[in-house]
């Protein structure tokens, strides 16, 4: 026993020495890369327009991720910025403008309440700045699965909904037809619309995007009756082209009183919002890039599809789109 312990100790010692000597002279590729990075950082900061840090809020839906990561990866690879992605809900993101924890919200669907609190001209503390449109257009409607639209084409007019109300009934809807409300993050007037158009429906809230998407997928697969609130840009449309039901068209002011809404949703111009302090570094190339960024729903849907359908990582999806679209990218970097 004694001998074997000594022997094993000796073997260990030999192995240790061998490994140490290997690591001491050979290897070392990390050090090489480190000094390479350090000199790159130095030269980067020597240039006139250098890039600092971008704290990018990432709100929890795939389309948003597509926009955030395309901008972020571009800033990292072409401008050498430090990009921190922060997975946050909208409300919390806006709180971050004031503390310096968040610099950019890249896709805002309209939060008048938050603007009132944080944007100066709206009466807020001025920690947030309206960055104007990001090029995407938010389209909100009442949708049914494609099979339903194909078999009962007249269902696409709200006037005919009551005729089919009992088909939409579920265990949740108390004898009326069920209307599936959405993730609470979205502005919804469905209860008022149902009431004011005298529809024999009850709004049941799915409570989350995952729940809504699964419901539509299941309805199409099993030919179930389903009507609900949904929106574009959304990756689901690549897989399942939902059909919109026509409501009385939106007119200015028809949503002014939430209790009296009886019209369709307007298209929303999606906007960027910045931390005022961050955006004031006008010479920062990262700030310039974010300010210049604009793209279309189709662009976003492609990247969203890479992430959700092709299961690419968010970084890889963004890099692929950047490589495939040099012209668009060049325009933002000018």
């Amino acid at each position: 026993m004694q001998v074997s312990i000594n022997r094993s100790l000796k073997t260990l010692a030999v192995a240790a020495v061998a490994a140490l000597s290997v690591s001491a002279c050979g290897g070392g590729d990390i050090d090489a890369k480190t000094s390479q990075n350090a000199s790159a950082n130095a030269s980067n900061s020597a240039q006139a327009g250098k890039c600092g840090t971008i704290n990018m809020a990432v709100n929890p839906w795939v389309g948003y991720e597509a926009s955030a990561y395309v901008v972020g990866e571009l800033a990292k690879s072409k401008l050498g910025c430090t990009v921190n992605y922060k997975d946050l809900k909208e409300d919390v993101s806006w709180q971050g403008f004031g503390t310096g924890e968040v610099d950019v919200v890249i896709e805002d669907w309209g939060h008048p309440d938050l603007e009132k609190k944080f944007v100066k001209d709206k009466g807020g503390d001025g920690s947030a700045t309206d960055g104007g449109p990001n090029g995407n257009k938010g389209i909100i409607h009442w949708y049914v699965p494609p099979w339903l639209a194909a078999e009962y084409p007249d269902i696409l007019d709200y006037n005919n909904l009551n005729k089919y109300a009992d088909k939409f009934a579920t265990s949740e809807s108390g004898g009326k037809g069920q209307f599936l409300g959405a993730d609470p993050s979205y502005v919804q007037f469905d209860e008022a619309i149902v009431k004011n158009l005298n529809l024999n429906f009850k709004v049941v809230f799915s409570g989350g995007e995952a729940a809504s998407i699964t419901a539509f997928q299941k309805a199409e697969k099993n030919k179930e009756w389903l009507i609900g609130y949904f929106y574009e840009p959304q990756w689901l449309f690549a897989e399942l082209p939902l059909k919109a039901v026509k409501l009385p068209p939106y007119t200015d002011g028809c949503q002014a009183d939430p209790a009296k809404v009886a019209c369709d949703y307007p298209d929303t111009i999606l906007k960027k919002f910045y931390s005022t302090k961050w955006a004031s570094n006008a010479e920062d190339t990262g700030v310039k890039l974010v300010k210049a960024f604009q793209w279309t729903n189709e662009d976003q849907n492609i990247v969203a599809k890479y992430i959700s359908q092709d299961k690419m990582s968010k970084e890889d999806a963004a890099k692929k789109w950047i490589a495939d679209n040099p012209d668009k990218v060049a325009a933002w970097l000018k």
């Binding site: 240790a16 480190t34 795939v62 922060k86 989350g208």
Partner: protein, 678 residues
């Protein structure tokens, strides 16, 4: 795995041979039935009036006041002393987390990789596993760490370890002194106890809102949430450990003239050490199970990829990191348990010969140091190679789960409808269509009948609070769902628990599944639940069951097993059939465990109310979700969270007082088992 400890404690209860029937409280079913019948009669004539329904996005002044308070705090970020202090604390926490991240998890710019790569971290962890426990644990640690990298989640796993580590260190710093205080000072205990009850009844989602307000987003809030969730079991168990030091030992200490401090340090703490380590184990697992929730506020860790999976509706993508969380839980549980038992094994002369042990310890230490050096030098040892296993498994598992849900979905719909129409809708109609004064009076009366004045007082306070926060109707809807889920939970618990208790093979087969069920984040199984049942209250119930049933099953199984072998022998020789054995002997004798299982099941189900709100169950859960999503609804979300807490405390109080005459185990550990994120 993770809940190994609470049942252990329960087994310390009265000797199983004692005839429990004698300790039973007298049945109070008659007055309960009278109250229910009265309630039903009045309901019949008054239903639909005074139900306090709060429509859609309506808010009460109380909710707006809460939101205004939030706005004031945000506006006073720079000047308000509370905000300044919490802000400074948050900075310190964030700094610590980010420092540790740069050491083991994220590139420390300009280095392309962290300071210590996977090879070094794995080697050190394995060595620690050997040093604190034994070679089996070392192998387990090695395998677990390699799987973090092999499945492609090295960085997220390290983040999670960092978060758990910081939370546990802080828990020890806060929990042990408080535990000692609660264990030695009656008055302190009477203050600490209710606070712990409160913390443990509150669904963790509820504390996210206020904590983010004070600590900002990111790792600081995540650490604080985790701490609040993880520290109560440690305080309770430490106090219990101190209290159960044999009084003779304390007397001896006093008689030889030790001061109180000396008595504490030399006698009480060393004797309570083992129990305190059990507490440490519970705290570690509780901290781990906060992983996914903390990700909602950008807390780093494996919860993030789980939420990513939810976002793209892909169970497979969420499953792999979910299983890694389970693997980490198993590793930490086994390691802390083995570490706590090591002293005993050594004392009995077990383990390797000391010289060999020392040799391995030194040799292993050298090897680990070398591995650290290499991983600082060479890229291959710093960055885990991409093996693609994670993606392959995600895809395979996703396909299998889709196939299963597709096959099952024709029968699940009718099943959902049957339960909803037969059980849930009538109960909900009864509770939520009662005028509020009727329901409140009836519940208070029930509390009095079941638990006397000591149940009545907290019940009245909770009911008043629920009315005050303005979500009475939704509270009743949530209560109905909770009761239905609890009934289903107990049906499952009795069937499976009895099977486990009677057949050892069934126990061996089922227990690991229960362990996984308790540890895996609920977000992993939400999508399959939705695919089977669509967004509905029943889906919320199923999600809650997946979380609550394992605990109840284990409690029932342990209780039935506790029926003494001699009793069972006698029953068998009397020629009773299997069903008779179960119904006439085993279940009645395990009654205390059944009641405990019901109470725990109920609280667990309630804790899942918020998750249920995300799958279409509506009511209070949805209100919390909406408060989290929309700034103007913050007050409503907070009010809903508070209402859930009040519901939980009320139910728990009634149940506990009702069972006061029952065996000790009820009173001793009213704690929520530590695992599961909510």
């Amino acid at each position: 795995m993770s809940t190994a400890a609470p049942p252990k404690v329960i087994r310390q209860g009265p000797a199983p041979d004692a005839p429990p029937v004698l300790a039973e409280p007298t049945p109070r079913w008659k007055p309960v039935a009278v109250v229910l019948l009265l309630w039903l009669a009045v309901w019949w004539f008054t239903k639909g009036t005074d139900t306090l329904v709060l429509a859609g996005r309506d808010r009460t002044p109380v909710m707006d006041t809460l939101a205004a308070f939030r706005d004031r705090m945000i506006a006073g970020r720079e000047s308000n002393p509370v905000m300044v202090v919490t802000g400074a604390l948050a900075d310190a926490l964030r700094g610590t987390v980010s420092f540790l991240q740069r050491v083991i998890s994220i590139p420390d710019d300009p280095r392309p990789v962290p300071q210590i790569g996977w090879l070094g971290v794995t080697a050190v962890a394995t060595w620690v596993g050997y040093a604190v426990a034994n070679w089996r644990i070392a192998l387990l640690v090695l395998g677990t760490f390699l799987s973090f990298g092999a499945f492609g989640y090295w960085s997220h796993s390290m983040d999670l370890l960092i978060m758990v580590g910081i939370a546990v260190v802080l828990s020890l710093a806060v929990g042990i002194p408080l535990g000692i205080l609660a264990g030695t000072n009656k008055r302190a205990n009477s203050i600490i106890e209710p606070v712990l009850d409160f913390l443990q009844t509150m669904p963790t989602f509820v504390y996210l809102l206020p904590i983010v307000l004070f600590f900002g987003i990111g790792s600081a809030s995540a650490v604080v949430c985790t701490l609040l969730y993880a520290v109560p079991p440690l305080i309770r168990i430490s106090a219990h450990g101190i209290r159960t030091v044999p009084p003779t030992m304390v007397e001896v200490a006093d008689s030889i003239g030790l001061t109180r401090w000396q008595r504490l340090l030399k006698v009480q703490l060393p004797l309570a050490k083992r129990t305190i380590i059990v507490g440490l184990n519970q705290t570690t697992l509780a901290a781990l199970s906060m992983a996914t929730i903390a990700s909602f506020v950008n807390g780093p860790g494996l919860g993030k990829p789980v939420l990513d999976g939810l976002r793209i509706n892909d169970t497979g993508t969420a499953l792999v990191p979910g299983l890694l969380i389970v693997a980490m839980a198993i590793m930490l549980d086994r390691a802390t348990t083995a570490a706590s038992e090591r002293g005993d094994i050594m004392a009995r002369g077990g383990g390797l010969p000391p010289r060999l042990h020392r040799a391995i310890l030194i040799g292993g230490g050298v090897l680990a140091a070398v591995a650290v050096m290499i991983s600082r030098q060479s890229l291959w040892a710093a960055e885990f190679p991409d093996l693609g296993w994670g993606r392959a498994i995600a895809k395979g598992a996703g396909d299998v789960i889709t196939a299963i849900t597709d096959t099952l979905s024709p029968i699940t719909g009718p099943f959902k409808d049957a339960i909803t129409y037969a059980l849930l809708n009538p109960l909900q109609a009864f509770l939520s269509e009662s005028p509020w004064w009727l329901a409140a009076a009836a519940i208070a009366l029930l509390a009095y009948v079941l638990g006397g004045l000591r149940a009545l007082v907290p019940t009245v306070v909770c009911l008043a609070g629920m009315v005050f926060f303005g979500l009475w109707n939704n509270a009743m809807v949530t209560l109905a769902m909770t009761l239905v889920a609890t009934i289903l939970c107990m049906v499952i618990a009795v069937v499976v628990g009895v099977a486990m208790a009677r057949k050892r093979s069934a126990d061996l087969l089922i227990r690991p599944i229960l362990d996984a069920g308790q540890t895996i984040p609920a977000f992993v199984y939400l999508i399959p639940c939705l695919a089977l049942f669509g967004p509905s209250r029943f889906t919320g119930i199923v999600a809650a069951l997946a979380y609550a049933a394992p605990v109840s099953i284990k409690l029932v199984a342990d209780g039935v097993k506790g029926v003494s072998a001699t009793t069972m022998e006698a029953v068998r020789s009397s020629g009773a059939s299997t069903m008779q054995q179960i119904r006439k002997v085993q279940l009645p004798m395990a009654k205390a465990s059944l009641m405990l299982a019901t109470n725990q099941g109920l609280l667990f189900v309630l804790a899942m109310a918020v998750i249920s709100g995300m799958v279409g169950a509506g009511a209070l859960g949805y209100d919390v979700v909406i408060g989290f999503s929309r700034s103007e609804e913050w007050g409503k979300g907070f009010a809903a969270g508070a209402t859930i807490v009040l519901l939980g405390i009320m139910i728990d109080r009634i149940a506990r007082r009702a069972a006061e005459a029952a065996p000790d185990q009820w009173k001793r550990f009213p704690m929520r088992a530590p695992t599961g994120p909510f």
